[in-house]
Symmetry: C2
Subunit: 319 residues, 2 copies
């Protein structure tokens, strides 16, 4: 006996199984999932939209168990779509479209914060983005909607959409499937004014890196310098990359010093400085292991859609 | 005998004294600072622009020392301004201005990556931004230039400007002096589509937080929950916030486990997972000490404008 469950989550939620999903909804007091104590077999689990995180689960009670009638039953999910569309239409009414019916739409990477690209969006583009979770724009040159990724398959999977104070500029916050720029670069922004001003005849491709990624870039640069025997410029980072025993002793030492700022009630500026040490030395280790900070942040994003204790209990090999 | 030194640095450089400045330029092979072995007394140190990081130092040889004639001498710095203006004009020629002579200009926080605001810029606005290091836009409603901060004093201090592949969209990457939005919010984006869709009648103000800041926000939320005796929902974060001995033992343990992934040559997915643990637990400590991750990143940005070993040697109390 199939039954359809529907729930609205508080924020982006990545259900990997219906049990997680059910637990999540229990915590969020979603009626349709209350009191489900019997195991479920999922037939279909589908994220119905990105912004309200409306999720539709098509599931049956597991063999040997009987559905106890706490779930909501739907013939189909048209009802959810209808509800969502009405709400989205209400939202679109509040936006200040320009004389061409457009707003500026900026796609931003949810893990790194990188500005991926900027386009324009009309009512249909924002609506489609909200309903499909794929960043969609309006092409002024082709006078048509286009979903980023429809030809390259590098979609931008939207977690939420934000509006500015004037309601004429929006952010599509999401995770790209691959490089966003048609040139193959991660983002469309790779020409720095400073490089041009220094030498207009040399084309340097460089993304606008914020501090964390600028540090990561520097560390990876040192790693690549290390392989170059002709490049003998001294660097503490190279020393650490080259001496893993030293690096590990530094990471342990800096973590200890960070703790001491709390234990010894030191000034908060000491805490900030020691945290900078922990972060820097750990990132050198990440570079040795070829791990990008983006991967770490993706893990944290997935973890913190659940509560800490639940998440902690769910991981293997942890206390 | 006063002498003027000029140099172009590779990236944003915050000289706190002329000695740092000279060292920096020696590394970057800037002729005017080569072979300066005598101490200098700075009379004036001025960042002449943001993008090429042209810096002007007015200094004299310290008492008891004689200038050895290696420096360049200028009567005034007009020559630098003239050089910069010519380069900037060349750059502006490459931009694809729309039919109104505008491009979209997005201001982004250099430490957090937050999109602060979006406006439009004409040739003069981009030029003024590049020459003054203050984010400057063109107001379409007032038909005039405006520098963000000219009334509020919350300037956005630009480190660099980036152009997209189509040359019709630019990023002003910089550090704001204070909240950017006229409403007092950190950024102009604080309305989430998901909140509106859930309940259009309740205004929720929420910034588009990327993963690191979303985690920080969650931790600070737990900290505030902890003070609320009526709010008894269990949480591992609250447990850590409440038990500093446990927290410190976890930070040391996770740092150790991160090192072990290198020492025991474990899979890189273990490294990413352990780094996530280190980051999360450390950020709980930061929350107890009221330190924001932005402050930590600001420290790292300042440090990594110098080489590691130099920086390391320059810090007190470190090995």
């Amino acid at each position: 006996m199939a039954a359809m469950f529907t729930a609205v989550s508080q924020r982006s939620f990545h259900a990997t199984n219906v049990r997680d999903f059910a637990h999540f909804n229990l915590r969020n007091n979603v009626n349709s999932f209350k009191n489900i104590s019997y195991p479920l077999n999922v037939r279909r689990l589908r994220q119905n939209d990105c912004n309200s995180n409306l999720l539709v689960v098509n599931a049956t009670a597991a063999p040997g168990h009987t559905s106890q009638g706490n779930e909501s039953n739907y013939d189909d999910d048209n009802e959810n779509n209808r509800y969502l569309k009405t709400q989205v239409e209400g939202l679109l009414e509040t936006i200040k479209w320009d004389e061409k019916g457009l707003v500026v739409a900026i796609a931003q990477h949810i893990d790194t914060g990188a500005i991926l690209m900027q386009g324009f969006a009309n009512k249909d583009a924002v609506s489609r983005t909200l309903m499909s979770c794929k960043a969609t724009f309006y092409s002024r040159s082709r006078s048509s909607l286009w979903t980023k990724g429809e030809t390259s398959s590098n979609f931008i999977n939207i977690a939420d959409v934000f509006f500015d104070c004037d309601r004429d500029s929006i952010i599509y916050l999401g995770k790209p499937d691959g490089p966003t720029c048609h040139t193959g670069m991660e983002t469309c922004y790779f020409t720095a004014a400073s490089d041009f001003v220094k030498n207009p005849n040399v084309e340097v491709k460089r993304q606008p890196l914020t501090s964390l990624y600028s540090l990561e870039d520097t560390i990876y640069q040192r790693k690549s310098d290390l392989a170059d025997l002709n490049f003998r410029k001294p660097s503490w980072t190279k020393k650490l990359l080259d001496d893993q025993k030293l690096l590990c002793s530094k990471i342990r030492e800096e973590a200890n010093e960070l703790c001491q700022t709390l234990e010894d009630n030191e000034d908060k500026s000491r805490t900030a400085s020691e945290m900078a040490d922990v972060l820097y030395h750990s990132m050198v280790l990440l570079a040795i292991k070829n791990v990008k900070i983006e991967e770490v942040l993706e893990i944290l994003r997935a973890r913190f859609s659940k509560s800490g204790i639940e998440e902690k209990n769910s991981r293997k090999g942890k206390d």
